[in-house]
Amino acid sequence: MQEPRAQALLEVTGVTVRFGGITALDGVSFKVMRGTIAGLIGPNGAGKTTLFNCLSRLYGFSEGEILFEGKPLTDTPPHGIAALGIGRTFQNLALFRTMSVRDNVMLGGHARSASGFLSNALRLPHVQREERQLGARASQVIDLLDLQAVAATPVADLPFGTQKRVELARALMSQPKLLLLDEPAGGLNHEEVDGLRLLLRRIQSELQLTMLLVEHHMNLVMRVSDQVIALDFGRKIADGTPAEVRENPDVVRAYLGVEA
């Protein structure tokens, strides 16, 4: 039976991160409900990417707690995050540059496969099976993101926008429950952003995904999000529906500027 209150998939409480004298995150708390898209906005250097890095366990945090599905993340090593069901893309692209698009995507499935050194070395039947399954799923994701034409190209040779899509494909390949997207619309023109918006919605509903979306493209954030959280100087300054946040005077002053 469903609980009366929808369960939060992600619960961030009082997270604080410091780098020397800089406080990149300052007691940030929020929740993201299962099956929703939450937008995360804020001026440059507000701490959005830092928060993602905490969720990936790339950064430690001095105070606070992050619960994913009710369990603290700190019990999991960085390489265990994907298996928990948190997938991500990177703001500044972090692709495997010499590998083909297809291999990049296949690697995204690493956490959803298990064969090890020995069984790979002997290419046991279950390894072959696993490879086939991964391969088929990679093909689906590649189709979904319209990357068929460049599947065999090394990613370093692709234009920026395409590389961003490869990142998304790679993240989807890990079948995440929570997808962290760091500026997925960077380098896309208007029409392409619109496409992305539809895509995100579709992925979200069909895969029952929850998303946390960092984006400076207001049009996208406001239209796609169920909830928007705004940070400034590492502090949360607003949290609510897109309409609420858009009107929030602090957000307007710090982030949107006069004519948002």
């Binding site: 990417t49 890095n53 990177f90 703001q91 500044n92 972090a94």
Partner: protein
């Protein structure tokens, strides 16, 4: 106790050798982000040049400066002619070229000058300073020379636009071109300066270890270790690292025997690096996403 003091001082003296070569390694690292394994052999070859000049009657300082200048030019030419064709290749291809240069210099020096050791003069007085038997005046003098070179290198990187441009070129050639830095010439300049520093090192080392084609072979490893221990991007750290390696090696030799002193010294150095992966004074460069 007396032995320990002696050993520490003697370690500082050999450490001075490592420090001077380590400095040349740092120089080339700043300019190329690579460690040139042929650095020691280049220094050795330059020292033979100085020796030849002195044999021909050129006075010490004349030979010194001619050699340093020639090493600079030689370094520049080496970069432009030998290194340039592989400049943009994979790093390991460059390493292979370095190994190639190493064996060429070593072998050609042996061929031209033969392998018998040659005494090499020191510019410093032969009488021990203050009548002590701890360190010779040459050892003191060459440490002084190393520190002077260190100061110059430090000032160069810290305060001149050229120094900045050189570091920029090593770090990000594409962006460097976009701000107008002539990347190719920066590399050549780096090679030139590193060779010149190497020549100074060789000339200071030769009176201690005697001049012969393999004189830098063992030193290079210690210098490499010293440079990394101090932090490969820190000239001061590298010099200090060189001294530390010298002392460490001696102290290990006294207390744990000479047979494994190299091994133990290296284990300690690597151990320190495991704890401090950027060396004692190296800047930790954070990679973030």
């Amino acid at each position: 106790m007396d032995l320990l003091i002696h050993q520490v001082l003697s370690g500082l003296a050999t450490g001075g050798i490592y420090a001077s070569v380590a400095l040349a390694l740092v120089m080339i690292y700043q300019a190329t982000h690579l460690v040139n394994f042929a650095q020691g052999e280049i220094a050795m070859f330059a020292t033979y040049l100085a020796w030849t000049l002195m044999q021909a009657g050129v006075p010490y300082w004349g030979a010194f400066f001619i050699t340093v200048a020639a090493a600079f030019v030689g370094g520049v030419i080496l970069e432009r002619v030998v290194i340039r064709p592989v400049e943009n290749g994979p790093i390991l291809s460059l390493v292979i070229v370095f190994i190639g240069l190493l064996v060429i210099f070593n072998s050609v020096a042996g061929w031209i000058y033969s392998y018998t050791i040659k005494p090499f003069p020191s510019p410093f007085p032969t009488q021990p300073l203050f009548g002590n038997t701890y360190v010779t005046s040459h050892e003191l003098g060459s440490a002084g020379v190393t520190l002077t070179v260190l100061l110059l290198v430090f000032l160069f990187f810290r305060f001149t636009p050229l120094g900045l441009a050189m570091r920029a070129a090593a770090q990000n050639p594409v962006s460097s071109r976009l701000v107008g830095v002539r990347v190719g010439w920066m590399l050549a300049l780096g090679w030139g300066l590193a060779s010149a520093i190497g020549a100074v090192a060789g000339i200071m080392v030769a009176p201690i270890v005697f001049l012969e084609p393999n004189m830098m072979g063992g030193i290079l490893l210690y210098a490499f270790a010293g440079a990394l221990l101090g932090g490969i991007d820190s000239p001061g750290g590298a010099v200090l690292g060189g001294f530390v390696v010298g002392v460490l090696e001696n102290v290990v030799g006294v207390y744990l025997g000479t047979e494994l002193k190299l091994t133990v010294a290296l284990v300690i150095i690597v151990g320190v690096l495991v704890v401090r992966p950027a060396g004692l004074f190296g800047k930790v460069h954070v990679a973030r996403v």
